[in-house]
């Protein structure tokens, strides 16, 4: 209903003004009526005065006449007193009457005529009184004449007064008619005007009361909304504060007050934001604050705030300036995040990083030492070996015939041990190099690789020619070709070595993709090993067979394990004594330079 009327307030106002207009107009019109009423009533009054005057005049004349007659008949002077008083008054009354009607020519003429007739009558009355004092026959005739003449005059006077009165009655009657007509016009006019005004004021009162209701509801809603906003502001999980151009805090939320340990009245309008920033952050914050006033918002500024008790609160500050529509500075709007946990985390991370880098340094030192160690193994251990071997040989050559068979044998033992030690050193160095070599990724064609190295492996063994190698189709894989070559060479050499003494020595090589891995297997029908020593299998210098039976340094499988684990893969094996052995290694399918 309200929505159909665009602006109830305006409609109400319009109605009130309209009502006032009507009332004003009615007032003006009524005044006009009232004035004319007053005027009319003056005229009516005037008419009545004329009527009264005429009647009084006539009655005084009759009194005088009666007095005269009484005197003439009785000759008693007491009858003369009304006559005398009437004579005394009557002229004045004639004058009054003339004055009253002076503005009306018809009545005036009659009044003047009346005046003349009254004068005549009065003089006749005088004559009559005078005649009445001495009775004589002449007198009687004269008196009779005077009396008759008096009666004639009196009739004329009656006539004139009658005509004056008729004229006034006519006037009164006209007035009365006029009044009646006016009354018939005014009453409906005033009535309808009043009714219209009351209606409009009533309507506007309805509109206004509705408007007031609406406003009250809106105000209540606004208050509720304001309360909600206030609540959100105060209890948000971050600190809010607003400051003026000098930095004085003009608003702060509960959350921040709790963080800082202050009461609202200790802060708002009292503390400057600079009082809350720790001394070491002052310079940086002041710079950011000035920048903010120039229009560059503060973005993710890390600060230490000071609590009331002096302790530190690490925060992250974002702030900007709020400007009015004219661009005038109003206040700032700052949002604080509590960084305590974050800082702790960062410290933990820093700690871990420190520990890690310390360990890294230690590792580097250890690595350096190991490198130095292998270097000296390679250089310094070989030189004496070379000397032992060289000089044993010189002994053999230069002292031929001076040594007996036992001497020759002993020299042989010395030289064979030197060779073994030399092999050990070589393998040890190879093993240490496997861990250090820089990785160079490529997609390795395993079948091609095996075809390449198999002849070398087989010819490197005493009875290698007798071993049958069965090669299945092998999937390719990502890896370092050189390192993988070493792996295959070692596994194949082992398989050949441990199977070549079998009746029909065979080595099987297979490969398949299993889930996320590519698994390769080298299987033989050789002597196998006892699974209870499995944990020694891949350890460096650990051997599961006698040197005399199967020579070796115990480094080959350790190298395999090291290389495959560098590829992110796994090595495992299964066997039973006398039933051959299976060695498996896996490479992740998703290996590659990007991983």
């Amino acid at each position: 209903m309200i929505s159909l009327i665009p602006n109830p307030r305006r409609v109400s106002l319009l109605m009130i003004f309209l009502a006032i207009g009507i009332l004003l107009w009615m007032g003006v019109v009524s005044l006009h009526f009232l004035e004319s009423f007053l005027h009319e009533s003056d005229r009516v009054e005037h008419s009545w005065m004329v009527l009264t005057s005429v009647d009084r005049l006539f009655s005084e004349l009759q009194d005088a006449e009666t007095g005269e007659r009484g005197y003439i008949i009785t000759r008693t002077t007491s009858f003369l007193s009304p006559y005398q008083s009437a004579v005394k008054e009557v002229r004045g009354h004639v004058q009054d009457l003339e004055n009253i009607v002076s503005d009306r020519p018809g009545q005036k003429a009659r009044a003047e005529k009346l005046g003349r007739l009254v004068n005549k009558r009065l003089s006749l009355l005088e004559n009559g009184v005078a005649l009445g004092e001495g009775v004589s026959p002449q007198n009687r005739v004269a008196l009779l004449t005077v009396m008759v003449r008096g009666k004639e005059i009196m009739d004329q006077i009656r006539q004139v007064t009658q005509s004056m009165k008729s004229s006034e009655y006519l006037r009164l009657r006209r007035r009365s008619l006029q009044f009646f007509r006016t009354k018939k016009k005014v009453l409906p006019f005033v009535g309808s005007g009043l009714a219209a005004s009351i209606l409009m004021i009533g309507l506007s009162a309805v509109f206004l009361s509705r408007e007031i209701d609406r406003r009250l509801q809106a105000e209540q809603k606004a208050r509720q909304y304001g309360d909600e906003i206030r609540n959100l502001y105060d209890y948000a999980p971050c600190g809010y504060q607003s400051v003026d151009e000098k930095g004085t805090i003009i608003r702060i939320n509960e959350t921040e007050l709790v963080w800082l340990g202050y009461q609202r009245e200790e802060i708002e309008g009292i503390k400057s934001i600079f009082d809350l920033v720790s001394p070491e952050d002052q310079a940086g914050y002041r710079e950011a604050f000035q920048g903010m006033l120039r229009g560059e918002p503060v973005r993710d500024l890390r600060l230490q705030f000071l609590r009331k008790d002096g302790s530190r609160l690490p925060v992250l500050l974002n702030a900007s300036v709020i400007r009015g529509t004219s661009g005038k500075f109003m206040s700032t709007r700052g949002v604080l995040l509590d960084m305590t946990e974050k800082q702790k985390d960062e410290e933990r991370i820093l700690d871990l990083n420190r520990t890690l880098s310390e360990r890294n340094v230690q590792l580097e030192v250890t690595n350096g030492e190991l490198e130095g160690f292998s270097y000296s193994v390679s250089h310094d251990l070989r030189a004496p070996l070379r000397a032992i071997d060289g000089f044993s040989r010189i002994l053999q050559e230069d002292y031929t015939g001076k040594l007996d068979a036992e001497g020759e044998r002993v020299i042989g033992v010395i030289r064979s041990n030197t060779r073994k030690m030399s092999n050990l050193i070589d393998d040890l160095l190879a093993f240490s190099r496997m861990g250090k070599k820089a990785f160079s990724w490529s997609l390795v064609d395993m079948e091609a690789l095996l075809h390449e190295i198999l002849p070398g492996v087989l010819s490197g063994s005493e009875r290698g020619y007798a071993v049958d190698v069965s090669l299945s189709a092998l999937p390719e894989a990502w890896g370092d070709r050189t390192l993988l070559t070493q792996v295959w060479a070692n596994l194949l050499a082992n398989a050949v070595k441990f199977s070549e003494k079998s009746e029909k020595p065979t080595v099987w090589v297979e490969g398949e993709t299993i889930e996320e891995d590519i698994v390769y297997t080298v299987r033989d029908n050789g002597v196998g090993f006892d699974m209870q020593y499995y944990d020694k299998l891949f350890k460096v210098f650990q051997r599961l067979h006698a040197q005399a039976e199967f020579p070796g340094t115990g480094v080959g499988l350790a190298i395999v394990q090291r290389v495959i684990s560098r590829h992110g893969g796994r090595v495992w094996a299964e066997s039973r004594p006398g039933e051959g052995a299976s060695f498996h290694f896996s490479l992740p399918k998703r290996n590659g330079p990007a991983v």
């Binding site: 004496p384 071997d389 060779r419 190099r433």
Partner: protein, 148 residues
């Protein structure tokens, strides 16, 4: 063979006397022994090459071949190599590094500095003799260098 073997000069830089003896013995098999000069460290090697008074019987001609051990006291073999190859009057002399080290980085560094050959000394004597005499035979008798 344009010149007598006797006039051939080999400078052996080796701190280990046993290795030095074995090397000389290997060279002896090809009768190079008379013209082998043995110095024990890098500093001595340089002072020999620059003709200081320590070696009064040094011939005027520079050596035909330098056998240089990698690891040496005082001045390192690699440092000696650097100085030789940086010197206009010496850089043409073939330098063969004879070393026990098979470290890849040493090999790379030696070649970067311009070594002529890099040999890992075999531990086994027969191998050693074969290698060293082979070096002598090749670099002294087969290979030719510009006359200076």
């Amino acid at each position: 063979m344009d010149e007598p073997v006797e006039s051939v000069e080999i400078l052996l830089v080796e701190d280990n006397p046993d290795d030095a003896e074995l090397t000389r013995r290997a060279l002896e098999k090809h009768h190079f022994i008379n013209r082998v000069t043995w110095v024990k460290d890098g500093a001595e090697a340089l002072s020999y090459l620059y003709g200081s008074d320590t070696f009064p019987d040094r011939p005027d001609r520079p050596p035909r071949l330098i056998l240089l051990d990698f690891k040496l006291p005082k001045l390192d073999g690699i440092e000696v190599l650097r100085r030789i190859k940086a010197d206009e009057s010496l850089k043409h002399i073939p330098v063969v590094m004879l070393t026990s080290s098979s470290e890849e980085k040493d090999l790379v560094e030696a070649y970067r500095l311009g070594v002529n050959s890099y040999i890992v000394k075999p531990v086994e004597f027969e191998e050693f003799v074969k290698t060293v005499s082979g070096i002598g035979f090749y670099w002294v008798l087969t290979n030719r260098v510009p006359e200076c």
